[in-house]
């Protein structure tokens, strides 16, 4: 005989203000099989959980329904409470009367009625729940880090430092990411290369890290502790094991005028190239879309120049490697938004309207101007630079709704760098708000204003045009309430940070969620910020949301800590939501085998005692089964069922609605 305990949570006022909990308790108490039904302000709290545990023990409950928030929120909490009280943790169901009821309705009577029905149907379900035992699976202690920017490098170094193997995959020819493009970094103004390149070298030399550059993840299969990852190593046309990085081939390459992606088009590169001088590994790649040989079938000057035999190989093909992986850290980073969306700022039309990232290259000692701030149009030193903040961010109509987070800081930094390099220069900054929250950040922006003379104008720019070699910037100073016009020599746009253009495809490949923009979803914004909803896959850096270097590094170390924690165990316990076959009724039609996306079902022979085959039945491998239940619906004879979501449970749930 079922003895169900139902616990109705008020969630403070969250539920109680919209659902008449007293009526809910009264109605549910009358439901057959309900032994106890009580209400409390916060069942998730310690005394709340104690109430549940006491009720289980005192009444010998066979099942528990907690009518509260989403199971995605507190199912684990209450499962643990059940287990502690001696009840199988899978004898629990959460009736979601908060997210699916009190928060979304405004008619208390109807919301109460709905809450009663939701709770009642789950009481009926839980009556048919079975004791389940978690499944143990082994853990492969090797991590995959996708993306070799500062976040990926940090995560790889931390995991490797804990003695675990790491595969670091980067699709560009070099690791380093966006940070390698930066000049100096806020709020300390130390040179980006100086702090990054030692890390890059450390990563590639680390005995536990295998760096695969110019490579991409092709497919991810499996589950936590047991992923199978296929990686495409794109043809470099240069043998990475033979190349010494002498650079002779680059010097001799006749195709020299290719706008360099690394230099944001402000400098050129050759067809055989390394993205930048400090590239790691320092091995060039051939850009087949630009290379004369690949276009016309003639040239091969690089090969003739190269003094190592067979180092440059034009016949090289993409190769594939497969790895068994236990955990994945996704650190695929960001892109900057295409600023040509903003015609009024004249980006693409006027050469001296550049992005913040281009300004980084101008200010960088290793950049195309060797660190001199010069106008791209005529190479002259600008006297007045106008910086336009939020050029895309916080603009729901044309750009993106969110704040790109780093622009206030880097714009202040740009103004400072300009003041340090050109003592007569003026920086005028159009801004909406100065968002400088962070250690040493507000002091930094104050310093830009007070010591380096950055002039901040609160307002938006409406128009920008060229007149007598000057860029006339028209806007409004909303503090003075007056229109302003500035004649500038150069304009720098603080463009919005957006996800990688292929972020969604990557997410689908890996099996993680993303938000409306394409930033990857964390499992819980506040409490599980580095985990994804997919167990064993973690996030760090700007692929999750716009982030500066300190935040990216902190998150990378956090993700690494999660991976190291996972790898500290030899066995993992997995949810026992898996399919099972009734041998007696299975006809061996193998329909379920066709339906299973995980190849988790096999055929098993049933023999008599003399070894003669009686029949063949389907056999589920619980280690591979992920519990989707597609096979159950496929089965013609109802011989396969999914633990936790059995036919009996679901029908009972539907009947009670």
């Amino acid at each position: 005989m079922a003895k169900i305990g139902v616990f109705v949570c008020h969630c403070g006022e969250n539920i109680a203000s919209m659902v008449d909990t007293a009526t809910l308790v009264r109605k549910i108490s009358e439901h057959p099989g309900v032994e106890v039904c009580t209400e409390y302000k916060y069942f998730c709290s310690d005394p709340g959980q104690e109430t549940v545990k006491r009720a289980i023990r005192e009444n010998n409950l066979t099942g528990v329904v907690v009518a509260a928030c989403s199971p995605r929120m507190h199912e684990t909490t209450f499962r643990k409470a059940c287990a502690e009280a001696g009840l199988n943790p899978y004898m629990l169901e959460m009736a979601n009367i908060r997210e699916h009821c009190s928060w979304v309705h405004s008619d208390k009577e109807k919301a109460t009625e709905k809450a009663i029905e939701i709770t009642r149907s789950l009481v009926e379900k839980v009556k048919r729940n079975n004791d389940l035992k978690p499944i143990s699976v082994p853990v492969t202690r090797r991590a995959l880090v996708i993306g070799g920017g500062i976040a990926g490098i940090q995560a790889a170094l931390d995991i490797a430092g804990a003695g675990r193997e790491v595969i670091l995959v980067e699709r560009e020819p070099s690791i380093g990411g966006h940070m390698s493009q930066l000049s100096e970094t806020f709020p300390t103004l130390d040179c980006s290369q100086c702090i990054l390149t030692p890390r890059m070298v450390e990563a590639i030399q680390h005995p536990n890290i295998k760096v695969l550059t110019y490579s991409e993840v092709e497919s991810v299969d499996g589950y936590i502790g047991n992923f199978k990852v296929k990686i495409r190593k794109k043809a470099r046309y240069v043998d990475i094991n033979k190349c010494t990085g002498c650079g002779d081939c680059i010097q001799k390459c006749p195709v020299k005028k290719i706008p360099s992606e690394f230099e944001c088009g402000l400098g050129n590169r050759t067809a055989i190239y390394t993205p930048f001088a400090q590239a790691v590994p320092n091995v060039p790649v051939i850009d087949t879309t630009r290379c004369t040989y690949f276009k016309n079938g003639k040239c091969k000057i690089c090969q003739k120049t190269c003094q190592i035999e067979n180092c440059i190989d034009f016949e090289m093909q993409d190769t594939f490697e497969e790895y068994e992986i236990g955990a994945i850290v996704v650190a695929t980073g960001f892109q900057i938004q295409d600023t040509s969306l903003y015609g009024e700022y004249g980006y693409g039309k006027y050469k001296d309207v550049i992005t913040g990232l281009s300004f980084e290259r101008l200010a960088s000692a290793s950049g195309p101007t060797s660190g001199k701030i010069l106008r791209p149009s005529d190479g002259k030193e600008p006297e007045t630079i106008v910086f336009i903040q939020c050029a895309g961010s916080r603009d729901p109509s044309k750009g993106v709704k969110y704040c790109s987070k780093i622009c206030c800081m880097y714009t202040a930094k740009h103004a400072m760098l300009f003041a340090h390099k050109n003592h007569h220069g003026r920086s005028q900054i159009f801004y909406m708000d100065i968002r400088a929250a962070g250690k040493g950040y507000d002091e930094f922006t104050r310093r830009a204003i007070e010591e380096d003379g950055a002039e901040y104008l609160r307002g938006r720019v409406s128009k920008l045009y060229e007149e007598n070699g000057k860029l006339i910037v028209r806007g409004v100073d909303s503090l003075l309430g007056k229109p302003v016009e500035v004649a500038a020599d150069m304009v720098v746009l603080a463009t919005a940070i957006v996800p990688q253009p292929d972020a969604k495809e990557t997410a689908k490949k890996i099996g993680i969620g993303y938000d409306e923009y394409g930033f990857y979803n964390e499992a819980h914004l506040k409490l599980r910020p580095v985990e994804t909803a997919t167990a064993g896959i973690y996030l760090c850096g700007a692929c999750q949301s716009p982030k500066d270097i300190p935040d990216s590094v902190a998150q990378a170390s956090a993700a690494a800590a999660k991976v190291i924690g996972l790898f500290s165990r030899e066995q993992l316990e997995r949810e026992p939501v898996v399919a099972g076959v009734n041998d007696a009724t299975c006809a061996g039609c193998q329909g379920c085998i066709m339906a299973c996306p995980y190849n988790a079902i096999d055929v098993r022979d049933i023999n008599d005692r003399n070894g003669n085959l009686i029949k063949q039945v389907a056999d589920v491998n619980p280690g591979l089964c992920q519990g989707c239940g597609t096979c159950v619906t496929f089965c013609r004879s109802n011989s396969i069922d999914l633990a936790g979501f059995t036919e009996k449970q679901i029908f009972a749930e539907v009947m009670a609605l």
Binding site: S70, E99, W103, H105, S106, I118, G513, D515, C628, T630
Partner: protein
């Protein structure tokens, strides 16, 4: 049909996308019609046409089946199975006499709280126009009286 007809809609949703989308509607405090009852399943691939029939039989005026967008299934392909199954089931529906408008198929991702809210409002409105779905329920009553002895 009376003005006060409040339809009952049973929604069969997968836990990874649409259930999470409905959670998002909740955390975003989007208001929608209280007529929907959600049944959580691991994947749309688990949703049997029998569930839909049972819901209609037990008093649902409309049924919604919703899961992850094509290509986004947490279980790789469950939603494709669901889609194919729906195509076949739809042909069968005509035969059984159940109007196709009573059953809705949709994709709502975990990021689409607003889409979920809109969808429920839309189905509620549409079902109000269609009126109560009684044919199948009456059949159920007949079955129940017969099976009582």
């Amino acid at each position: 049909m009376s003005e006060s007809f409040e339809p009952k809609i049973v929604a069969f949703v997968c836990t990874y996308c649409t259930y999470a989308g409905a959670d998002l509607a909740g955390t975003s405090r989007l208001k929608y019609a209280p007529n929907v009852r959600i049944v959580r399943l691991p994947c749309t691939g688990r949703i049997s046409p029998m569930f839909i029939l049972k819901a209609l039989q037990k008093g649902a005026d409309s049924v919604l089946v919703s899961g992850c967008h094509p290509g986004d299934c947490h279980f790789a392909a469950g939603n494709y199975h669901a889609r194919r199954r729906w195509t076949v089931f739809r042909a069968l529906l005509a035969f059984t006499g159940i109007p196709e408008e009573r059953i809705r198929f949709s994709w709502v991702s975990a990021a689409e709280g607003a889409k979920f809210a809109d969808l429920i409002n839309e189905i509620t409105e549409d079902t109000k126009k269609l009126g109560p779905f009684t044919q199948y329920q009456e059949l159920q009553k007949v079955i129940e009286t017969q099976s009582s002895y």
